[in-house]
Symmetry: C2
Subunit: 298 residues, 2 copies
């Protein structure tokens, strides 16, 4: 097969918070796996907010991965590495069952099927952004690599199913997959999204911007966070590791920082003072409390 020294990369969910940061990091590095990046395609259902300035070609594709024919077009260029970040987030997948399964299950399956159908030795590295939502209470205090998957949300169910597909398609030689289970990303920049975990970022971000933030869970809620920068590093590392050592267990749980909401609030107080902390309004939401209570804490 023709070997091109230039690395071609596809990012689904390329307009999302992690996707944009991943693109910016690739633009800055200019290389991946010791090969110069030649082309980067950013696919998402919306246009990325700004252009990515890079020494290589960057294309944006506005399309829905689960729609007929879309994944085939994205894969037609045979990218060497696919970062599959596109997802219907947890709150939205819980609110709309059909939309969640369509985006998170059908979209992922369509992507993997398009890769398989290319055939002729094509076997890209696929880095899949999974989530610690694949785990569900009751859980041990420390989550090991052999923790069984008992998701308590439709989002977590869909991520767990996608992990199973990734492993089966890898085992059969259609792709070379690695699933990275990301902790909650905190502090997320930008505007709130519909993730049930969104408040973990809101209670820091909005008060620092002089805006009110709603805290829907008790202060003693403990959770597990990684920064946006760490998330990008996890994904880039997954793109270059030797998957031979993983054998059939290709789903990796990433480390994070475990804190209570009270500890987050006290950290904000130390940095920004009582006035800023006063912008956090406690407004219990039983649905969010229940979703978060089912997630791992550290």
């Amino acid at each position: 097969m023709f070997y091109c020294p230039w690395m071609r990369i596809l990012v689904t969910g390329g307009a999302g918070m992690v996707g944009v940061r991943l693109a910016e990091r690739l633009a800055r590095d200019g290389v991946l796996a010791d090969r110069p990046v030649g082309h980067l395609a950013l696919a998402d259902i919306v246009e990325p907010s700004g252009p990515v300035l890079a020494d290589f070609a960057v294309d944006t594709v506005v399309a829905d991965l689960a729609a007929e024919g879309v994944s085939g077009e994205l894969i037609a260029d045979r990218p060497d590495v696919v970062f599959h970040l596109a997802a219907v987030v947890s709150g939205a997948a819980e609110a709309d069952l059909e939309e969640g399964y369509r985006g998170n299950l059908d979209g992922t399956r369509a992507l993997f099927e398009s890769i398989r159908r290319i055939g002729r030795g094509y076997r890209p590295r696929v880095v899949f952004a999974s989530s610690i939502a694949v785990f569900g209470a009751p859980l041990p205090e420390v989550i090991g690599d052999d923790q069984c998957l008992t998701p308590l949300t439709s989002y977590g169910t869909q991520k767990a199913i996608a992990e199973l597909l990734l492993c089966d398609y890898s085992r059969r030689g259609f792709l070379d997959g690695v699933a990275i289970r990301l902790p909650t990303i905190c502090v997320r920049p930008g505007r709130p999204n519909r993730a049930a975990s969104g408040f973990f970022s809101s209670i820091i971000r909005e008060p620092l911007n002089g805006e009110e933030a709603v805290l829907p869970v008790p202060d003693d809620t403990r959770h597990w966070h990684a920064s946006p920068r760490s998330a990008v590093s996890f994904l880039l590392r997954a793109a270059v590791i030797d998957t031979g050592v993983l054998e059939s267990r290709r789903c990796l749980t990433m480390p994070g920082v475990s804190v209570t909401v009270a500890e987050q609030v006290e950290a904000l107080r130390r940095v920004a003072g009582d006035g800023v902390v006063g912008l956090i309004r406690r407004e219990p939401d039983e649905t969010i409390r229940r979703i978060v209570a089912g997630w791992p804490r550290l």
Copy 2:
């Protein structure tokens, strides 16, 4: 909602070995969950080999669960209990990726979706025949309830995905599911099927019928078996247990008898003599050996 004292039951895969035995047992018992059986529908892609004689109405439906509209028709009568046994067996799902995903993933999802779409409080007990193929080596000597799912076949992957769907649809209140992970059923009566585990039965059944049987794995291969009668009892029990005590963990691994192939052969020798054992021909098959090596042993 209108309450009918007569129990209506749907069995998918109703022409299969377990499906037929389940139907015969229901005909004999005449009751399920202390309610008289009023109607039994047996659905399968082929006609059952013989009629089921019962004091209640028995219908057979020849249809493909994954085909457009079929699951909706099967569910239109709102059965109180659905035994979902239909499956593309392990060897066939490994040989034909598309057929396996279509039958085992799309078919199951269509069934669950049809149940969900009825709505209006309809929430049948769904007993799903899963498999110990959801587990994959390396495994501990004893499989606990918290064993993580690492299937090493497409069949096991599809069963694991169906389990996740069953749990999510149960959690959301669309159905009341229980997944029963059956060990390999041995001795299976009838003709060989395309299950990779088929030889465990063939090496007993064919020689007893005076026919040659092929043994594709080494004699020290250890595996885990349940009789057809036990399988039926597991499924019937799952139809009546209080699922409240299961909480979110609705997938149950069934007990079995753990033996090596050599022990099976010696048991056959004790019962039927050297001449019958001589009909077992050793013909190593690396594909089957590898599939079986990935399964739990006890």
